[in-house]
């Protein structure tokens, strides 16, 4: 049983890493894994926390970057909206 637990946890670990590639938050990850892989959010959350403990610096940088990205995304989307509103065919309408 220890074995299957270990491999299960490894699986969850793997899935979490995939979610990290998407820059998801812990909550988003819990939801996604529960929905797509039927993994109990409690387990996801626990493994996430443990991973965070083991890889502190990574997670710190991750959350910092996420914040940056979020704000960048917002900016970008706003710009996109503007561009699309202006018909979008203007190739000169490049965002620098």
């Amino acid at each position: 049983m220890g074995d299957s637990s270990a491999s299960y946890i490894h699986l969850v670990h793997h899935l979490i890493e995939k979610c990290l590639l998407f820059h998801m938050t812990k909550e988003e990850c819990m939801e996604a894994l529960s929905k797509h892989a039927k993994i109990d959010p409690v387990i996801t959350s626990t493994v996430w926390k443990e991973l965070e403990k083991e890889n502190k610096e990574f997670f710190e940088a991750y959350s910092l970057r996420r914040e940056e990205r979020m704000s960048e995304m917002e900016t970008r989307e706003r710009i996109l909206k503007l561009l699309s509103e202006s018909a979008g065919e203007d190739t000169d309408n490049k965002r620098k």
Binding site: M1, G2, S4, S5, A6, S7, Y8, I9, H10, L11, H13, H14, L15, E17, K18, C19, L20, L21, F22, H23, E28, A32, L33, H36, A37, K38, I39, D40, V42, I43, T46, K49, E50, L51, E52, K53, E54, N55, K56, E57, F58, F59, E60, A61, R65, R69, M73, R76, I79, L80, K81, L83, A87, G88, E89, T91, N93, K94, R95, K96
Partner: protein
């Protein structure tokens, strides 16, 4: 094992400070060299903070042995020495040593204070102080649980002092936590610095990489289109990295991430009708010249199709504005930058191209990845659990996870709940 002999002689001075000496006290000074000693074994049973006679012994031994510079963090001995001069000297040395990169806990013990000839007396005194801290230090590595909260305080303290100038003793003071020894802080600091360097280096690399993607995007992506026979299906991407800003993280893990991602692509590619491939080579070459303008379909943003969110960013990668022509064919899928997970989350509203090269990487990310992409990624993992971890993070300790789960009320972990 080393023969343990009670401290005597020169150690007396040390002992006067010490109220207790563990029976097994340190090994005889002359019997071994620190390198041979695994202090953990010796002290494995000793978890109390106040059992540190070893420390003294070690200090003594260090002083006597004046071991060749082992690049170990100064053990608690150093932490103990609050003496001004010693402290400064130690910290300076410690910092240097840390920079050399050895953080191994086991090295803590045989700290050699080679640098301080006069440290003997200080060393003697130090253990006393160290012990009063309540945590065993020195050789014994008391496991410090660096919780996020603790770490946050640590980082705050470090930031306050300045990462490079942060000295464990100061950090300790700023944190104001009794249970930490300078040594704990020192080793944690070393790890922290080393990781920071890595992260920064990788981020810089990621930026470079995203810029290079322009170049590779065309050449690599082309291979994916089934309709483009001339396009070699090889993925000649630049360093395989599923994510751009996260490219650095990727380094921690396995280099083969892209493979799994790549597998996904064909799915997307298959279902689009393949218009005769325009001369993709035109945009294959590194400086992707404007994609064959003659073939607007190429650049039609894939968002038309909806599912290929990821493709769009690639087009942008090319640096060419997205041709809004609502051509349905998604030939341009080909130019997708291979490194980008097909489920790139960018969802352009329209045919709006954001040519900024710098944006490429960011385009990849969406605040909310699409369900399909997440599902695809999850499915991939479930189907192929043997694949290497995309990020290669250190796995959590099994025990701690299980304990935590028990706490949360999850009696046992299902074997496979996919």
């Amino acid at each position: 094992m080393l023969s343990v002999s009670p401290l005597t002689g020169p150690k007396d001075e040390v002992h006067e400070k010490e109220s207790e000496k563990p029976p097994f006290s340190a090994v005889g000074v002359d019997d071994f060299s620190f390198d041979d000693i695994d202090f953990d074994d010796l002290f494995v049973g000793i978890d109390d903070g106040d059992v540190l006679p070893d420390l003294e012994v070690d200090s003594e031994m260090f002083a006597e042995l004046s071991a060749a510079g082992s690049d170990v963090n100064l053990s608690s001995c150093s932490s103990v020495e609050r003496e001004d001069k010693d402290e400064k000297r130690e910290e300076g040395d410690r910092r240097e040593e840390k920079r050399e990169g050895s953080v191994s806990r086991s090295e803590e013990s045989p700290v050699t204070k080679t640098n301080s000839a006069s440290s003997d007396s200080n060393i003697g005194r130090k253990p006393a102080t160290a012990q009063t801290k309540g945590l065993s230090q020195g050789k014994r590595k008391v496991k410090v649980d660096w919780t996020p909260e603790l770490h946050r305080r640590f980082v705050q303290a470090v930031e306050q002092l300045g990462v490079d100038k942060a000295v464990p003793s100061r950090i300790l003071e700023l944190m104001g936590i009794d249970c930490l020894t300078r040594h704990n802080i020192a080793s944690h600091l070393q790890k922290y610095r080393s990781h920071r360097k890595h992260l920064l280096a990788r981020e810089a690399e990621a930026v470079n990489w995203t810029q290079r993607r322009h170049v590779y995007g065309g050449s690599g992506g082309g291979g994916k289109r089934n309709m483009a026979p001339w396009i070699p299906p090889t993925i000649g991407f630049p360093p395989p990295t599923p994510l751009h800003p996260f490219r650095p993280l990727h380094v921690w893990g396995h280099p083969t991430v892209d493979h799994s991602l790549i597998h996904v692509w064909p799915k997307h590619l298959v279902h689009s009708p393949s218009p005769p491939p325009p001369p993709p080579p035109t945009w294959v070459p590194p400086p992707p010249p404007p994609p064959p303008p003659a073939d607007p379909s190429y650049w039609h943003p894939p968002h038309q199709r909806g599912s290929k969110d990821g493709w769009v960013p690639n087009i942008l990668t090319q640096g060419t504005p997205c041709f809004p022509q609502p051509l349905t064919t998604m030939k341009f899928s080909a130019p997708l930058v291979p490194g980008i997970p097909p489920h790139a989350l960018y969802k352009p509203d329209n045919s709006i191209a954001i040519p900024s090269p710098h944006m490429d990487s960011h385009l990849q990310f969406d605040s909310h990845p699409s369900k399909e992409t997440v599902d695809a990624a999850v499915g991939d993992v479930l189907a192929k659990p043997w694949q290497p971890l995309p990020l290669g993070l250190k796995p959590p300790s099994m025990d701690s996870v299980l304990v935590e789960l028990q706490r949360q009320g999850v009696p046992k972990v299902p074997s496979f709940c996919a």
